[in-house]
Symmetry: C2
Subunit: 231 residues, 2 copies
Amino acid sequence: MTLKTSGSLRKGTTVDTVVHTLADDIVSGRLLPGTKLDAKTAAERFGVSRTPIRETFGHLAAMGLVTHRPNRGVIVATMSADSLTYLYEAMAELEASLARLATLRMNSEQRQTLQNLHRESIHLVRDGTSDEYDEFNHNFHSLIFEAAQSPQLKRLAEATHSRLAPFRRAQFRMKNRMSKSWEEHDTIVRAIVAGDADGVARLMRGHVQTVSAMSAEFLAGHQPGPESADE
Amino acid sequence: MTLKTSGSLRKGTTVDTVVHTLADDIVSGRLLPGTKLDAKTAAERFGVSRTPIRETFGHLAAMGLVTHRPNRGVIVATMSADSLTYLYEAMAELEASLARLATLRMNSEQRQTLQNLHRESIHLVRDGTSDEYDEFNHNFHSLIFEAAQSPQLKRLAEATHSRLAPFRRAQFRMKNRMSKSWEEHDTIVRAIVAGDADGVARLMRGHVQTVSAMSAEFLAGHQPGPESADE
DNA sequence: GATGATTTGTACGTATGTATA
DNA sequence: ATATACATACGTACAAATCAT
């Protein structure tokens, strides 16, 4: 899974590289929520001074991937159950909007690609690993983001998705989640083909809310006593 | 040595202070799109060195308020017509979502407050200045954001609104805009009272799209040959 | 609680790259 | 096109705050 940088980053600078690497470490789960990132260690790891590292931390904080505590360094963002719910609610609305627009704007080639992608994913439900299904799932949603032709909404959705990624990772390991997910995708694809834009929005909202519930359940079981990083 | 703040030396760091101040200068229109911000001048203005200013610029770029051109400094973000359209589309969707949620979740006191606020705004349409109506308009939308009880969506909407503010300022000076705006608000308030959440979403989307068209029209007339700052 | 160690926050110097005469 | 001026990107030094004992 590749990470989309916000358009604000410079090209070809140290900061750019480090932001990418650390963001990916966080989004991919190699750095777990709550982990402290100290500037000195990071500076040594990347062979640069603390100055660009500090700037990097600023970017990561702006993305919501780390939390900055004045004079006390930064930690990988943790999430209270409430914060997670709020983030997922935003995600649900953004995805619903994008799905509605995609229904109205996608061309027939994109519609065909989506149907093919979806149809083939049934094999992953039977035989695939959760990581493989996760990758397919990312492609499925990305295709819809693209078809919506709304770059700014897409950016907000991707930024929100990055923040959720560390807490979303294990959902497809929950029992039956993959086949449930497939069924939800199925109703969405049918509604897209039927051109029922408002229906698609409603279904997509429900789909993301289901994922939200799964993640909350997983979080409750595996991460007792989280701190609020938000609001 | 530096501005170690007489009086309120709060928890925030220098960077936080400067970010807030400059962001407000941009959002409020005191710094116009295209204005160059150089680190040295800003450092002198705030009585600090260039290091925290550099970090500040990174934050502002992450917010989309300034554009960073590698090795060529930062300027207050300008906007192509397309970028503006995309930003407004995101705003429309976010506001529609918030309005829908607000309809479902607001309590009777909030509903009453909204109706009163709206009803009194008719006087501004007749006798008020565009600045006064703009302030009311901000309160109207803020009340809906609050009532939606969705902090993360609210944050996205506010961030998007900040980016639009420099390009939106003069819209209420366009002929009849204030009374048109009032009529749109009127249908929205009625739908909220009626509890028609999906209708509210649709109306709010249309309302913001109207504003979008106004801003585009204004931009076309007053800012020939804009540069793309985005996508 | 006090004190030393560690880490963050800020200042400033310098090399490099970009624009402009 | 070359040179000059200038702004940026990063490193290093020091001050201030936090933490560990």
